[in-house]
């Protein structure tokens, strides 16, 4: 029979946080928001850098095929853009990149190397990038709707649907 031991450790974090003083929640959050906002320029640069990296991968594509190692790189870069775009409020771009993650992940998991669905996402990515021509909300929905059809065509399931169904913080 296995022995189960239960400890009741008081962490140093708990001790320090309980000291008097410190910041009220609203002030702490406001400080952090200001810090993030001050990084918007760097964030836009980082998004552009990651997009350029994806473009480079696509430029090297041969016969419309993307081997697994290149798909993994696209997935990694797209995943970074999802985080950056959502952090700075570029929601249409974040949705487009989530869709690219789903497609790249689906292709990888099914052993496929089609480059076309990735290329369509990359073109949409440029349309929705910060600083590009502003699309109206209905136009954005048309673009994203077309991307969703790609996922349906391949019968890929979004990563978020396959993830563990345990509650996690947003």
């Amino acid at each position: 029979m296995k022995t189960v031991m239960t400890h009741f450790p008081e962490t140093r974090l708990a001790k320090l946080a309980a000291r008097p003083g410190g910041l009220m929640r609203d002030i702490a959050i406001e400080n952090a928001m200001k810090s993030i906002e001050s990084m918007r320029g760097e964030g836009d640069e980082a998004i552009k850098r990651e997009m350029d990296e994806i473009d480079k991968i696509m430029a090297g594509m041969q016969k419309n095929r993307l081997p697994a190692d290149q798909l993994k790189m696209v997935l990694h870069r797209a995943d970074l853009i999802v985080t950056l775009a959502a952090t700075f409020g570029y929601e249409p771009l974040a949705r487009c990149m989530r869709s690219l993650c789903d497609v790249a992940d689906g292709l990888l998991h099914n052993g496929l190397d089609d480059g076309a669905p990735v290329a369509v996402h990359v073109r949409s990515m440029r349309l929705l990038a910060p600083g590009s021509a502003v699309l109206s909300p209905p136009q954005v929905e048309v673009v994203l709707g077309e991307l969703a059809k790609i996922l349906t065509h391949y019968d890929f399931s979004p990563i978020s649907k396959q993830a563990d169904q345990i509650p996690i913080a947003k």
Binding site: H7, P9, E10, L23, P167
Partner: protein, 190 residues
Amino acid sequence: MGQARLNLKGVQALLLDSDQFSRGLISSMLRGFGMDSPIIGQTGADAMAYLNGNGVDLCIMEAMLPDMSGAELIRWLRRPEMDKIRFVPVVVLTSYAQLRLVSAARDGGANIIVRKPVSPQGLFDRITWIARVQRPFIDAGNYSGPDRRFQSVDPPDGIWKRGDDANRGQETAPRVVNKLAEAVSKGSPQ
């Protein structure tokens, strides 16, 4: 209810993220909360090297590091040989493509998992919860880490025990007790 006040001055965090910009972003959030600048690392090996000789008060890491998964690193950290540092709270951050790693991180012994993009509100509330809610630490052969059952403590606000609890308006016993206690303290029992 009064606002949470948290004194994070002097708290030393270890932040592990493979992306430079993400590291900068989380670091500046932590500084905004009043915390000292975190120790920065990119890989699991960086973390192991640092933790072998130093203590930290909080560990924030990605679910997948370039050289190992966050779950592997947490398992290493939670070993009995790690002495007191094994109890250090661990926050795991998952990006969209890492969502499949949630249960691995939980089973590895993470205290809480936060989905990227991390909002200041979300991160502050989770750190507050970790600092204020004492969860027992379980050693059960194949699992070492915080007790994953929420019997006497609630998960943080906005997180539910079961996926559909929020839709059903399901209240947990500790939440009901807390609300009653709050109402009584205000002199208006419901």
